[in-house]
Amino acid sequence: MSGRSNSFDVAIVGGGHNGLVAAGLLAKAGRRVVLCEALPTLGSACGTSTLVPGVRVPKCAHVVSGFPPSLIRQLKLKKYGLHVLQKNVGRVALDPDGRHIPLCASAGATREAIFSWSSRDADAWSGFSKTMDALVRALRPVYAESAPKLIPDNLRGRLEWLRHYVGERKRGASSFQKVLRLLPSNAADFLDDSFETDLLKGALSLDASIGSFHGPYSPGSLFYWAWQRAGETASASGTLQVAGGPGGLTAALTKAAEAYGAELKTSAPVQSITAKDGQIRGLVLQNGDEVSCPIVISTVDPKATYLQLLGPRNLDAGLVGDVNRIRMRGSSAKVNLALERIPTFPKADESTLAGRLLLAPSLLDVERASNSQKYGILPDHPVMEVTLPSIMDETLTPEGRHVLSVVIPFMPFDLDRGWDAGGDILVDKVVKTLGEYSPDLPDLVMAGEVLVPPDIESHCGVARADWHQGELTLDQSMMMRPTPQLAEEAGSIKGLFLGGAGAHPGGGLTGRPALHAVAAAVRFSKETRL
């Protein structure tokens, strides 16, 4: 580095959407910010890539779930090119014979579709929705704010707990009890108690557990589901589809951050985070460059942050042990296809196909898929979430052509037969399954790619292909995320903050971990007058 100052107020490790949000907010607030991303491109899981010339696909994530409109406004992302094509992107339980069930449309439309399967279930829909809403409502305040401390050590902390308690308790004893009973429960029993239709339960249980290590029969899966929904509904726009794919969000975040004065470096992997006497000093990049700064926000996963970048030397043994034991097994795979034209799904019009299509015939199918992950094998019948973003987004493909994006959950990071062989087998299973829903689809495939979990790790920078950077179980959430100690203080290293999915409230394209990290960093800089 010649001539340019390498001294900054804040250094950000990782250029995924959280890193970019942090960079933009801090730069806009007048801080001197540098962001270092190891890969040649920014965005991490929030990217759009070119499948074949002229055809672009959402590389990893295919929708933007729960990104707050307030953040869009705050960073002026629309000015920097963000164009929202759809709000509240709906979910559809897809049926091979055409009796699809839209899940997030008007309650009336959903009930009508369910009615063709079961009148009893149609009647049960509103009660089920009410209960789900109650659970989500109980969690949303905790999701949207910083997590209260496990053991509050001051009045303010205790009042925070009291506020959450009162907020929930004033809905009535019965409602309060119901929430306390359901939160540790599992999605499968809740669904079996509510409905009889396999397709409905299958789709909902897939929605409940996608991105998790545990299947819908596992206790804690209802919490996971409600937690994800809390994130999605914490903003009124819910899940968004953005023009240009999620890469469109990354592009806008990039432009905004740069416009505000942040320096964004790509192909700049960080070697280490340096600290002395319990205080952050800066970063050392792999190419030898040094960055000097009193504050580092790390958006890479907590294990990498503490065990690789900081190094166990700087940490006490208890913290090292706890970080080592963070569980990160919720891996997914991705298949992206370029299609000659729009495939035919029986009785599904474009508005149906513009949503998130859930391909899961039954509860047991979803559970079986999660079973095989435990043993490091591929499922016989993968369940999957599919989108056709080109229906609403004309910028992705030439006229008439389409892309199809598939997220396959419950993929073991280490496959027994190895992913070299496994990737091809997976694509075949995926295309075969898609063919069961759309008979002409397999013949329309012009090109395709599969990103198996190790690919998602190396090409998209998502450690262990786990977009939560740590399972969102009850013991790794909220005031215990990523560990009880790190939820409260960044391991007694002053000036270090975790701003990625591994911190509260978890993964998904929400930008919220970054928001919390920025707020904490700003508080810290005020307190230390830096």
């Binding site: 401390k149 496990l150 053991i151 308790r169 004893a173 019965s174 309060f176 009890q177 119901k178 306390l180 009973r181 359901l182 939160l183 540790p184 429960s185 599992n186 029993d189 108690d193 545990h214 029969y217 596992s218 206790p219 804690g220 208890g318 034991r325 569980r327 047991l364 559970e367 079973n371 435990k374 043993y375 179980t473 009850l474 013991d475 215990m480 009880p484 100690q485 409260e488």
Partner: protein, 535 residues
């Protein structure tokens, strides 16, 4: 018409415990049992002459010391013989023979992993700490976090204050013990698959969870909160079989003036103006009572014995959703000699305890996966005890009784009920597995009976064969057990109480639900008496 202060329905150990406490307090108590024998699932049966089977439960640990003391059960014949360890055979030639002696245990574990041998000290200590946290909760009604009444709020605050005194890391640890899978919890301490298998075995007993399911670590904890011989979580045999527990409690009950009638099944509870006034027997005979208590499983207690007109629709719905999925079967075997397991020396003292044929955690998890599919078990978890090794009263000299607990057996198969043919098939699966581990076993069998979850339900009212009267998952524990509105032993019908294992603190031959229910009944009776006096 006969009238008693209290009529108790069912003569399982919890009913008998509740009845004994109430009789001891001076009330007139009648206990009614449908079978011609008492004890429910804590019962000894002589089906093959001279051989005493503990036909359902087979070992004791969790019976509360307070109950043993209060009811003077030792005076009434209760003798427990702790066994010093257990054996885990993984089927690939390896074994662990555990011991309650720390040095012996350390040496044994070190055969597999020196690191794990050391970690075991830490694990044992942490488990004890968690068990100590749970113990005070057992012999009292759980605090009700939804209640705004000062008494309940104080209880909740006290509970929170205890939680707070653990400190952040201590509380986090407690949360882990209550929410993690057995497998994930054990991964925090151990590296060896056989050590993990050995310890995870207690997570799968009677559960509708796999060792890799979140919440299964709690089941390990649940099986460690016993205090037979001090705070060790030790297990033991009851002299005379498990029925001796029920007999001792029954003897205590009778010594306080209580009466027990067998072959007297109850068909309904008489209700007038939302209060229980007595019972009607299957024979048609009516008996009046000031208080009615049921030790039956929840759904039977509510849905079978009460007229639904007396209950709200939502209450009936909630009760019917109480989860009682059975997952266990039982074989009782009369043997002409001891089995000889090829993988372990016959003189190993741990063979006095339970012998598990279980494979690794992955094998147990696969058995759980099969259970979810409701297919015939292919490789179930087996736990074998031969109490006659320590208790000579159970079989003629040189002969033995074996109890085989089979885990991950569906209460119904995907293609229908457990027919005789299916039961035979299950029996073959189990006996073949034992034969493989102990060649010659089958030739020593002089009598064998196999009891599927359906059999357990039909005979002793364990709904769906669930041995705990309801699954032990967090959504059905503490203030959620069996439902939030029923967690205090009272029902919507005045004077009708529940005292069985569907109630806090759950199943496992603890007696605590019975004792807690009795305490609640007595407190309510005092309150009503006080009100009557002041009125």
């Amino acid at each position: 018409m006969e009238r008693f202060d209290v009529v108790v329905i069912g003569a399982g150990h919890n009913s008998l415990t509740a009845a004994a406490y109430l009789a001891r307090a001076g009330l007139s108590v009648l206990t009614l049992e449908k079978n011609d024998y008492i004890g429910g699932a804590a019962v000894s049966r002589e089906i093959e002459p001279s051989f005493i089977y503990s036909s359902c439960s087979y070992a004791l640990s969790l019976l509360r010391p307070e109950i043993i003391r209060d009811l003077d059960l030792t005076q009434h014949g209760l003798r427990v013989m702790p066994y010093q360890g257990s054996v885990t055979l993984t089927g690939d030639g390896r074994y662990i023979a555990s011991s309650s002696h720390p040095d012996v245990m350390h040496r044994e574990l070190a055969r597999h992993s020196a690191r794990d041998a050391d970690a075991y000290m830490r694990y044992g200590r942490d488990m004890r700490q968690q068990a100590d946290l749970v113990s005070p909760l057992l012999m009292q009604a759980p605090p009700n976090p939804a209640s705004l009444r000062p008494k309940e709020l104080r209880k909740v605050m006290s509970f929170l204050s205890d939680a707070q005194s653990l400190g952040r890391d201590g509380l986090a640890d407690a949360i882990r013990f209550w929410t993690l899978s057995a497998s994930d919890l054990l991964d925090r301490y151990f590296e060896s698959d056989i050590v993990k298998a050995h310890l995870a075995a207690s997570a799968v007993i009677g559960t509708g969870l796999g060792p890799m399911s979140p919440g299964s670590a709690y089941v390990m904890l649940h099986h460690r909160i016993g205090g037979l011989d001090g705070p060790n979580g030790a297990w033991g045999y009851v002299r005379g079989g498990m029925g001796a527990v029920s007999m001792a409690i029954a003897s205590a009950l009778r010594s306080h003036g209580g009466e027990i009638r067998t072959s007297s099944g109850v068909s309904e509870i008489k209700v007038s103006k939302k209060r229980a006034t007595g019972v009607v027997l299957e024979s048609g005979v009516e008996i009046d009572a000031g208080v009615v208590v049921s030790g039956l499983e929840l759904k039977r207690s509510v849905l079978s014995l009460l007229d639904w007109k007396e209950l709200s629709k939502s209450f009936v719905e909630q009760v019917s959703k109480f989860k009682t999925r059975g997952s266990s079967a039982k074989l009782n075997i009369a043997l002409d000699g001891l089995p000889e397991f090829t993988d372990i020396p016959s003189d190993c003292p741990s063979l006095d305890g339970d012998v598990r044929l279980c494979g690794t955690v992955v094998d147990m998890e696969r058995a759980y996966d099969d259970w979810k599919e409701k297919v015939m078990p292919r490789d179930p978890y087996l736990e074998i005890v031969i109490p006659s090794r320590l208790d000579p009263t159970l079989a003629p000299p040189g002969k033995h009784v074996a109890s085989v607990f089979v885990q991950y057996v569906p209460d119904k198969l995907i293609d229908g009920s457990w027919t005789d043919a299916k039961r035979s098939e299950l029996q073959d699966v189990v006996l073949s597995k034992i034969e493989k581990a102990a060649p010659g076993f089958k030739s020593k069998i002089r009598h064998v009976e196999t009891r599927t979850p359906e059999d357990l339900e039909n005979e002793i009212g364990l709904t769906q064969g669930n041995i705990f009267h309801g699954e032990l998952t967090l959504d059905q524990l503490l203030f959620n057990r069996p439902l939030p509105e029923l967690a205090q032993y009272r029902t919507p019908i005045g004077g009708y109480y529940l005292c069985g294992s569907s109630m806090h603190p759950g199943g496992g031959v603890m007696g605590a639900p019975g004792a807690n229910a009795a305490r609640t009944i007595l407190a309510d009776a005092r309150l009503r008496a006080a009100r009557r006096i002041s009125a």
